[in-house]
Symmetry: C2
Subunit: 361 residues, 2 copies
């Protein structure tokens, strides 16, 4: 087992990575203060891992809460059903919530923990690659609004993150690829050596080589933990983690949440960011090609969906949380491993990108 630390002063927490960790009560109990816990999961993950977690946590009379599966259920309405379950069971302000699942479960459970009785502790048990390398770490929680992704939420840190790499054995191929989009993102935005390692290792990763996956998770979490500890509330550098995400959120909202997986939209978003960076003269065509090739090999989309008109995509991008004073700000690239946040780009070039990098209708 590897353990990283996310350093946030008195709110610091460990990230444990290894095989078989969901059975390790000794890793969980030090972070539980009350007498009861609840485990929030979804209809896909619960049949696979809920029983194991109920056993591990049996000393705390765990309440299982099973939600429907999909990004389209990351809403205030579903959050309210979780609260109903907690209140109906009489679970008090000392209850610890566990998020057992992917990014949707982590985000909605974390936000529920942030606001249930004005805040209860929570612990992340991510079971998808995407959640393990990205969404479970760093305390961004929230739900979607039909006008924009993650528009209602909180910065609220978990007490710990337990990444059981065994859960990847049951992950569908499409979800594995979606997680790789975020892994590739870390290389593209700040670690050229890691990007090169990914180019060498992509086939191993796709064939679920345990050692390769564990290293990819560990390196991703290291990069994320360092950035989050430097800028928890995204006043500056943390925004770089959103490479591709302004495009991605617009794609997800435009197609309807749950049509593309988040990681698939991120893949197309990285391509759009790279293409615009190239049009601005910042990123060599060879680097754009390397990024596209790697994402393609990971079985990910490298074009925006045909179903959304470029004008509509631009409109959806304008509600992004990074918009400031009416100006759209984007994370762009000055090289593989060198991202920056900027509003200094010609809107006409952005329009070209949106038109050129769209799949054939």
């Amino acid at each position: 087992m590897k353990t990283l630390e996310l350093d946030l002063g008195e709110r610091s927490y460990p990230i444990h990575i290894g095989a078989g960790l969901l059975a390790r009560a000794d890793l969980l109990t030090p972070h539980i203060s009350g007498q009861r816990v609840a485990i929030v999961s979804n209809e896909t993950v619960a049949p696979l891992y809920m029983q194991m977690c109920l056993t591990t946590l049996q000393a705390y009379a765990p309440l299982p809460i099973v939600l429907p599966d999909g990004e389209q259920y990351k809403t205030l309405e579903v959050l309210e059903t979780v609260v109903t379950a907690l209140l109906s069971e009489g679970l008090d302000r000392q209850t610890t919530l566990f998020a057992l699942g992917g990014g949707v479960i982590g985000d909605i459970t974390g936000f529920t923990a942030a606001c249930y009785q004005r805040g209860v502790p929570f612990i992340q048990l991510p079971t998808t690659l995407l959640a393990q390398v990205d969404s479970s770490v760093g305390g961004k929680t929230g739900v979607n609004h039909r006008l924009g992704k993650n528009m209602i939420g909180a910065f609220y840190q978990p007490r710990c993150v337990i990444i059981d790499t065994d859960t990847l054995k049951t992950l569908p191929d499409r979800e594995l690829s979606a997680g790789l989009a975020e892994v590739i993102k870390y290389g593209a935005l700040q670690d050229h050596a890691f990007f090169a390692w990914l180019e060498d290792s992509i086939d191993k990763l796709l064939s679920r080589d345990t050692q390769a996956l564990t290293f990819a998770i560990q390196r991703s979490c290291e990069i994320k933990a360092a950035i989050v500890s430097a800028d928890e509330r995204e006043a500056g550098i943390r925004a770089l983690l959103n490479l591709g995400h302004t495009f991605a959120h617009a794609i997800e909202a435009g197609l309807g949440y749950g049509t593309w997986l988040h990681g698939e939209a991120v893949s197309a978003g990285i391509i759009l960011a790279a293409d615009l960076s190239h049009r601005l003269g910042w990123l060599p065509g060879t680097d754009v090609k390397r990024i596209e090739t790697l994402l393609s090999r990971a079985q990910l989309p490298v074009r925006a969906p045909a179903a959304i008109e470029p004008e509509r995509l631009l409109e959806l991008m304008s509600v992004d949380k990074k918009v400031q004073g009416g100006r759209l700000r984007l994370v762009l690239l000055k090289g593989i491993g060198r991202a920056l946040l900027t509003d200094e780009f010609d809107p006409a070039l952005l329009t070209e990108t949106l038109n050129q990098c769209r799949a054939q209708p």
Copy 2:
């Protein structure tokens, strides 16, 4: 104008109290960082004071958002409509929200600010006595769930609180009395001299004597600010501010939100707490009588409503946020001005109180 400071380190903020303050742009602008603001109010208050606030804040192209009036609208659904209004107008993460109204508006606007795009600044402009002396100060925000009051929310502090005492001129008598319930609460829980002053001054307060009201607001805010700065997240002493509130929240949920005003339920709740304290041998009968007389003179209910069975009231009390490990904890009195939080009471005596202090069916 009087100014108090709520001391919370770098999140400290001023509380300004005086006449005509809603017109004072100079008090507001130092706390606004972005280019736009939104003013959230309700159908009752907006016709009276929205125009004045729009004028005061005209440099920030203020967006008015008007909600229906009443505790029954303090819900996640209504919060979502506020978010829809903000997103539709393209208001970004630098937007400052203003809460113009009573406790419901303050609570729902504050919680919206806490979670809109994971947190934007907000400012309290309380227009009811209850909001001025209690709910606008201290950062408790949230919405109700049908199973319990304020069950979904956040500790989220405003940037400042502006108490314009002129707004009390338009306050209905019933709302004035409801605010006095919280004022009397402060005397009962921790300031015997203030309680005695209230006994002397209740007629002046009811006849809206400006000087008396201003002093009552100031002293209430002083008491609350001192307690909140010592215990922001209610790990200890802050719970004492909930004198009467466990009973009150159960009454409000039981009758249906909005049937009784919150302050009316608090009045009955203080009586129930005093009666139980007396049965426990902690509070002399003469003190119970003084409290009941003062609340009665303030035109407030001094019995639990006949419409709720005592058994049902007890059941509703069991979801209170102060419940810990299945045990109900209550704020009780060992004298006027001496409150304590305890779970050491005979449940049979609580049942007696609930039966004896109920209005005749």
